[in-house]
Structures are given as structure tokens and as C-alpha cells.
Amino acid sequence: MKVPPDFGVDDSQLSEATVPNDLRSAKEPEHCILRELMRCGYDEDTIFGIKLALEEALTNAIKHGNRNDTSKHIVIRYYVDPQRAVIMVRDEGNGFCPATVPDPTAEENLERPNGRGLMLMQCYMTKVRFNEAGNEVWLLKERQDRLA
């Protein structure tokens, strides 16, 4: 899937990295993204939120999408400028339907140990988009957007 047209960047502007299916391998592209955010002068709270959303997306890809299979890979694409940060994470899994994830803040779900990653991504990012299969997620943070 190409970058969603309402994310305000062209597909050709995105950097890309393919890494083995573990969080440690994803650290290098993550550090590149965080360095760019700091270089563009994003504030600490925004960087915290983007980092959290990215790591939730990576964990979902590694653990749920690729089922912790070390022979699989994840693809990370990203672009950062002073107005926006765009990040894509794709796994090799069959995908899922985001609409079927229960609300983790509902009373009956509050003490479940899982199911908060997607909600945190949606709270801290301006937009979260999945491809049709559900194995690719696009995250947009617009700099002037405050925590929802």
C-alpha cells in the first residue's frame, strides 16, 4: 500500500528499512526516526507519544503479525519534517481486522492484560490507517496536533 494521500507526503520521500523480526533489530530505524524528530525540534511529549505508538506497532507486527517467527521480517518506512512524521510498519502475517479489537477502557476489559496497543497508537498519533489485509499500519503525527 502506498502512503495514504491525506498524510501529506509523497511515497518517494519515504526512507525504508527491512529488519529481522525482533524489537532489537528494529532499534536502528527507530533511532533514525527519533533523531530526525529531535533534529526537527519536536517537543519531548510528542516524541514520547510517537515512540510509544511506533513501539506498539512494532510489537504488534513482531508478536501478532509474524507470530514471533525469527525467520520473518518487518518493513519500516518513514518520513519526518518539521510539520509531520509518517511511519509505516508492515509484517508478513495474514493481517487482522482492527474494528474487532475490543475497547480496552470498557469496564469489562479494564483488567485484561492485553489489547491496549492499538488504542495507544490512536491516542498519540493524528491518524492511524491499516491496509485492507491489516498487516500494514500507517501512522501520522502532525506537529500541531495535541494529545487526544
Binding site: 510509544l52 506498539e56 483488567e111 488504542m119 495507544l120
Partner: protein, 121 residues
């Protein structure tokens, strides 16, 4: 008496087990699992434990870490103990508020306040 651990620093005061995290970022699945296991062992070894988790060294955590804390909280309750959290920074507390877990956990601004909340041993 402080007990060595790979992820946790544990000491005792006023009958309370006070735990600080050695990792600034509680993110990776494996270390979360190991932290959860270490804390579970602590709770199993001491029924009725009064346990304080001090987050002063933590500047980042993931939803998986929240899940680990929920599981721990349930275990402490089953063992008729009490769990409090303290020194959570503003950004991480925001995560607790967004997920409404600030209603599930007994959170205090400081370890001193939490210890007072436990009362005398």
C-alpha cells in the same frame, strides 16, 4: 536488605517490599516477562505482601508492561496482599490515564506517601 536481581532492585522498609526497576525503558517482551516472573516469585514467597513499585528510574514503558502490572495486581490481591505504585512521571502517568488504569492501581506521587498509605506493619 537489598537483594540483587537482573531487572529489579529490592529493599525493605516498615514491612514493605520496595522495588525499583533497573531498566529505564520497560519495553521488550523478554524483559517484561522476566520482570513479571521475578515479581510473581516475590509475591509467592510472601503471602499478604505489601509491595511498592517505585517507577522513578522508568522513563518509558509499553502496553505489554501494563499487562504485566495487571497480572501482578491480580496475584497480589489473590494472596491478600497490597500493591502500590509511586514516582510515575507525567508522561507515563498520562498512559495510565488514557488506558483508565489509574482507576485500577493505587498510585502515589512519592514512595514516602505510598509507605504512609500502607500504615504500620
Amino acid at each position: 536488605m537489598e537483594q540483587p536481581s537482573s531487572h529489579l532492585k529490592i529493599k525493605r522498609a516498615d514491612g514493605v517490599a520496595i522495588v525499583e526497576f533497573a531498566d529505564r525503558k520497560i519495553l521488550e517482551e523478554l524483559s517484561i516477562q522476566e520482570i513479571g516472573e521475578e515479581l510473581a516469585q516475590l509475591v509467592d514467597a510472601e503471602p499478604g505482601i505489601r509491595l511498592l513499585l517505585n517507577f522513578r528510574n522508568v522513563d518509558h514503558l509499553s502496553s505489554a508492561a501494563l499487562g504485566m502490572l495487571i497480572t501482578l495486581n491480580r496475584k497480589v490481591q489473590e494472596k491478600k496482599g497490597a500493591l502500590k505504585l509511586s514516582d510515575i512521571n507525567r508522561q507515563i502517568f498520562e498512559v495510565f490515564k488514557i488506558t483508565k488504569l489509574n482507576r485500577v492501581f493505587d498510585i502515589h506521587d512519592s514512595a514516602e506517601q505510598a509507605l504512609t498509605g500502607f500504615g504500620r506493619a
